[in-house]
Symmetry: C3
Subunit: 208 residues, 3 copies
């Protein structure tokens, strides 16, 4: 039963991210191929990098249904992107959902592949953030991803909590549920971290 | 005999893309090392990603002659880039040639490595487009690649037709010839796909 | 004994690059997670790409201490980035040190993995430059990296000299020392290469 849950969450994450990629394409008024490329890259990018770094076979090469799903989602968005009241808000929500799911399933895959705890956390963060980073680079958005605090912090929190619980021997289901709950709480309450601030009287330096 | 043809096409693609990389370097007035880096990355980038995703040994690590060819091409462009009447048009042509060849040879390599049809198509598109994407990101061009419709669409068309013919059992030579012909026709007649358009009365939304 | 030296140099390179990543984060006033992500990516990015291309296990997956070091360095920079008189100059120096070390240790790893001479040189350059390229792309700096001549040229010079000496049968220690010395001399004397210049009377062409 649990296997099924993990797989379902993974699929949900892929669909959510593919949707955000296609939404960025619609904001840039690309053609349907642009939609598809951006949808596919965003949907499978994070998991691809995770698999390559782990030396595992890339998941969509062995299971092409993921690829097909991203293509379908992109096509659907192409014809329906004008429907939601605010595409931008919809994009943010899809992004948050994908992030939460991938942070946990990414860490899980690395953990069960025998990786160290901190490596599993890193893989969760990579899986959760890489697709969106590529999406923004290709879509010509300034890669502000790292300065949107909720983004990476939340992925990290979910991955850390999930992996810690696994390492402590908690049952997988519990770890997964708590990891996702923390992510939801962070979103709901707008938790964020302090940012680095220039000390007063320090002029900005350097040519770039 | 056919082996030789495939290898020759692959080489031609590498040389064409290396040329476009070096031409972007000349537009940015880089030094000779910048020419070489951009030429090498553009020439071998797509095939490198394809091999990594397939879990195959990276082609230029086992066959360094490809690397050497990119270096030589970049050097030649450094000393001759002022000759063509219009470097920009020359760049577009080289790009189109490289794209056509890589879409087909990329799909072919994946197909004969045992990948599924849709994965072979994806590998063709990746091989054909990734080098140019990296070139534009590194060269500081806005990555408009996805909005130049002819670009990805043509790579996709060539890869789809080639792979479909292979899957249907057509002889490799025929599939290759038709794949390339479609690409040439698309270029010649300027075939393109409809783009997503904002519906009237919808203001642009969101902060980014 | 020599093993220890190589490992120490590799560690020094990782720390130097992680520092530059965190310094870019401080210039962008990111939160502590942004510091960590940028520090980690810059510190281990080059070596990661090298390992993936060589088909070797990624070094920080098998040896997570590197990952931990990058996290610690990023945290330290978060709390001390206001101390140096000029963060920008400090960043340049750290970058130069990391570059010199990685160009040599990157080429060395490829060489002892059985790669061809030119492939070893390419791996040196990749290891030395990729982390910084990713840092600049993610940090939203225009990727001018290829136009800062000292950058790639110096990495290339160090990698070429080191690999040539190895190929000629020189003892590893000597090759390493000379490779680093050349890099230091290039920095000290400001050696650079001629850049491509527009010929007079040639208007800038093309739409991009």
């Amino acid at each position: 039963m649990f296997e099924t849950v993990t797989i379902a969450l993974d699929w949900l994450g892929v669909v959510a991210f593919a949707t955000t990629g296609a939404l960025v394409a619609s904001r840039k008024q690309m053609d349907i191929i642009g939609f598809t490329l951006l949808g596919v890259v965003t949907g499978i990018g994070g998991g691809t990098l995770r698999d390559v770094l782990l030396g595992a076979p890339v998941f969509w090469v062995t299971e092409p249904a993921y690829l097909i799903a991203c293509v379908l989602v992109s096509g659907i968005v192409f014809f329906t992107a004008h429907i939601p009241q605010s595409r931008y808000r919809f994009l943010l929500w899809m992004d948050a959902i994908g992030l939460a799911l991938f942070a946990v399933t990414g860490a899980e895959k690395a953990w069960y592949a025998g990786a160290d705890g901190i490596v599993a956390v890193a893989m969760g963060v990579i899986t959760a953030t890489f697709g969106g980073i590529i999406r923004d680079l290709l879509g010509g958005e300034s890669p502000v991803i790292l300065s949107r605090e909720i983004y990476a912090s939340a992925a990290l929190a979910a991955a850390v909590i999930f992996t810690s619980l696994l390492a402590l021997g908690a049952p997988r289901e519990l770890a997964l549920a708590i990891g996702l709950l923390v992510r939801a709480a962070a979103l709901h309450y707008g938790w964020s971290l302090p940012r680095y601030r220039q000390r007063p009287g320090r002029p900005h330096e350097g040519p770039r």
